[in-house]
């Protein structure tokens, strides 16, 4: 009789442990999904801002056609890739970032443009969106790290294997130009 109770007890304890581990993994996976959705929102926001920016800037920058075209092109490529995985997206968005920072560096040569109210508001939005992208990326990567650790460490890796929890993909910035913030020199 005692043996039966012990077996029942062990089974119950195991079930509880399994349940807790499973729920923990689900919670972390949902956090990763949420964080990814946040990046997505900010990237979309950037895609929406760019046509506006190009339109405002166009009238002032007659000699920067190439820079402007590069931005528009990078934006269109990035927008088409918006359903791709984290790795692929990070690459095209990185290129858009560097095209944008080249444009904003060029703006320094146009004092009239810099004083334009419309442009100043746009620039605040753009700066903030860039920050939001990097902060949401930061949070996403932290979440992925936590989730991946959990799927690889004993004992939760057993549960992860049983229920098919796959490791998450980091949103890494691959371009060297994107890693370094652009330095703008004021002395020409």
């Amino acid at each position: 009789m005692l043996a039966v109770y012990i077996i029942i007890g062990v089974v119950v304890v195991l079930a509880i442990v399994l349940w807790l581990l499973y729920n923990g993994l689900v919670r972390l996976r949902n956090q990763v999904k949420n964080a990814w959705a946040q990046i997505d929102v900010q990237l979309k926001r950037r895609h929406d801002l760019i046509p506006n920016l190009v339109e405002t800037v166009k009238g002032y920058m007659k000699f920067e056609r190439e820079t402007l075209e590069a931005v528009t092109k990078a934006r269109n490529i990035a927008q088409q890739a918006s359903s791709a995985g984290a790795g692929e997206r990070a690459k095209v968005e990185g290129e858009l970032s560097s095209a944008l920072s080249r444009l904003l560096a060029v703006v320094e040569r146009y004092p009239d443009l810099k004083a334009n109210q419309n442009f100043m508001a746009l620039q605040e939005e753009l700066t903030s969106t860039e920050n939001k992208i990097s902060f949401s990326r930061q949070f996403y990567n932290d979440s992925v790290l936590r989730y991946n650790n959990q799927t690889q460490m004993v004992p939760s890796n057993i549960v992860a294997g049983m229920f098919g929890f796959k490791a998450g993909e980091f949103f890494e910035v691959t371009l060297a130009a994107e890693r370094e913030p652009v330095k703008v020199s004021f002395t020409q």
Partner: protein, 381 residues
Amino acid sequence: MGALLILIGYFLGLYFDSAITGLVIAILLWAILSLVAYFQGDGILLGMSRAKKIGPDDHPRLYNVVEEMKIASGLEKMPDIYIIDDPALNAFATGRNPNKASVAITSGLLQKLNRDELQGVIGHEISHVKNRDVLLMAMCSILLGTIVLLAWYGSRFLIFGGAGSRRSSSSGGGGGAQIVILVVALVFMILTPIFAQLIYFAISRKREYLADASSALYTRYPEGLASALEKLGASTGQLKSANKATAPMYIVNPFRQKGMKASDLSSTHPPISERIRILRAMAGASFNDYDQAYRQVHQGGKGVVPAASLAAATVPITTVKLEGEAGELNEIQRVRETSDAMWRLSNYKTITCDCGAKLRVPPNFKEPQIKCPHCGRTHQV
């Protein structure tokens, strides 16, 4: 601190012939105050400081920075943002849980800080929200308040009130023991509030360090907060609307005095110079780095960040940013930006005349046209 409350209630009860009565009084008082603070605390605090709520269009820079920090901290809901129209430099966070939180900043501070510094300060406040410090400190301060209140009334009763009737009822026997209890209770009632206060200060200071560490982690840039604290430390203006009860909510102690000692026990905040030294000594931006910097500044001893949150991987600090980065406003522009927002929040209309003058039209101005007092052009209102 809860234990202290129960003890003081017990001794107060001894005076009323039953310890239970005292306990019930203590717990009831505490419960009522807690409930009020829980449901109305943020409203009372914001109302007392005459804070004005802003939307995304009122002050885009502030709104964006708060949203950035919300994203960095992984907070689920955007906190409400308030501006206090006061030249003193300070900021605070309030709200009973992370889903119903508010961040408030004085207009003076908003004008003084560049983007990185503002990010550091807001990161500090958001982490108070995220770590649920607001609720913790509110509950602690109410516990403290209850203890002080009870001790004050208790000692008045013991010294002035009802002594005659007590003596007649206890004169039969054990009068000596009664007096001993009375003396113990009296000493206790004098000491308890002091102890409670010290505990409260210690908790408060610890949460400040933790919020600094979190801010550095969120922004990945401890220098932003350090340089903001430097500006905060250099100012001497006191916040008009702050009082002793709300002091621990602010980013720096609104009643601070110059030259405070590092080991001062009677402050809700660690000295600013020390907080700056720790932030500047950080080698990376993780909690671990903050803990090491803290030990370094304090010459060994215990760390300040709870061990559970130390397990983070190495986190590098963002490459050095500079004031004057592309698009960064200078101080004059920030003053204009903030004062424009404050006028708008008071329902004034702003008309910019071609001559460069700005006309502020009060809400009760009924005429359809207004003349610029500087150059004489007429404008439609």
